[in-house]
């Protein structure tokens, strides 16, 4: 390792650093922007109430007892209301595999933080829709 080879290595590193200056940053301006998640991402669930038959297979298979169902609450002929407790859910995907009527799916939404613990129990009003208030920052609307 002579002096010139060390100097050459230094220039290699400097070249690399210089090139990065003009590149797009690798980081995202989270939470206002986010990366694209794969299709199979096991994020929060969505309950399609039209297809649901209240068979309770999702409730039975859940290893952490995160799902509760209310059979009294009916919108259609056979359906029921589902309550997901995201303080318990481990996103294993067994409930989605257990559902044979295409009534329960994972969505690629993974940011579920709330200010209050109780807000993480998603009732029928929250679990059946993906709508939420858009994130705003300095007058700009993101996501």
């Amino acid at each position: 390792m002579g002096f010139f080879s060390v100097l050459g290595d230094c220039f290699q590193i400097l070249k690399h650093t210089f090139r990065q200056v003009f590149k797009r940053p690798f980081t995202y301006f989270y939470p206002f922007e986010d990366r694209i998640y794969p299709e199979r991402t096991r994020g929060r669930h969505i309950h399609v109430r039209e297809n649901c038959t209240a068979c309770a297979q999702c409730v039975r298979i859940c290893p952490v007892v995160a799902i509760r169902m209310d059979k009294e609450d009916k919108m259609y002929e056979k359906d029921c209301a589902l309550y997901f407790d995201y303080t318990r859910c481990i996103f294993c995907g067994l409930c989605v595999q257990a559902c044979r009527f295409e009534a329960l799916f994972h969505t690629p939404v993974v940011d579920l933080s709330e200010g209050d613990r109780d807000d993480l129990i998603y009732g029928p009003d929250k679990i059946e829709t993906l709508d939420r208030d858009p994130l705003k920052w300095r007058g700009r609307r993101f996501r």
Binding site: P38, R40, T41, R42, I61, P63, C92, G93
Partner: protein, 378 residues
Amino acid sequence: MSPDILDGSMDIWFGPQHVSAHGWATKLTLVGDYIVECDPNAGYFHRSAEKVLEFKNFRQGPLVLERMCMLEAFLAEYPYVAAVEKIAELEIPERAKVMRTIMMEMSRIHSIQFWWGQFNAELGFFTMALWPWVDREYSLDVFEELTGSRHTVSFSTPGGVKYDFTEKVMTQLNRAIDRFEDRLVKFKDMQLGSPTFRARTENIGLYDVKQGLKWGLSGPPIKACGVPMDLRKDDPDPNLAYDMVDFDVPITENPEHPGQSDAFDRMEQRFAEAETAVSIIKQLIPQIPEGDIVDPKARGKANRLPEGEAYARVEGTRGITSVWLKTEEKGQTAYRAKIRGPCIASYYALKDLVPGSKFADFIVIFGSLDPYPGWWDR
């Protein structure tokens, strides 16, 4: 040891708060800078997984196992699934066998990539800590694209696997493997050629085969002594596709101390392991057959098992990982499950291995055995 030497001794609790302590606590007795006694204390990570398995049915069981070691989640959950398949006498489709093997080697690569970073960070070589972690991201991308989760993959189920390989998964897999294969040569050159790293690890934590087998070590810590002890060759699982590939058991033999291994040899052994895993995946990718990924009758058969006992084991990243399972007639859950993690042996090996070495070398010795606390407190 005469008692007067111990008069000036000092007891130090190493962990469980220390970052390099991985969540364990070891009581060290020091005289000056030298360790004279080492007392490992397991129990800080106990989650009663064996008891939990008695309350989970056979499709929920693998979820508990994969949380034992998140870095090799697929390798960790496989023995349980294999034990269930043995009792239920399930047939596995050919496609699922190959997919399992590919995912197993991918988990191994991921675990080794993480360990390089962790071990180098403990030694203070932060450059070599972050570079393998860049490649680890690509491995995680494969897991995420395939299963939807980055760590807790939850991929295998009794009778096959849950998620099929899509074109996008194959693209990600090829990208991860090609990139890693390319960078592996540079890493090896950088890591093993570094004079600082050599000075820090050579002749540190030296033990021979006899001692290693006495402590019950398996996997890379024993293969680094030059013993080709590998379950992939010695006891090939019929539900995996290791018979379809041609590979040699990776071993490391150091001419300076034959039959013995130090921290440097164990690092070299990890490189050999990664090279073998890459070659196995590369051989298996063109051989993936078409067909089902799960036995259609498995779902019904795995609900209630007949009475029986089964023992399944697999060559994990850190050593032999095994599960013993006992079921009762028409049982929905296991009657008793016993998990054997590889790290419990390497943790208690410290009791004989560490005394006599310097305090600063303690973390080198322990880090080189690839500790993961989830494996010794079940």
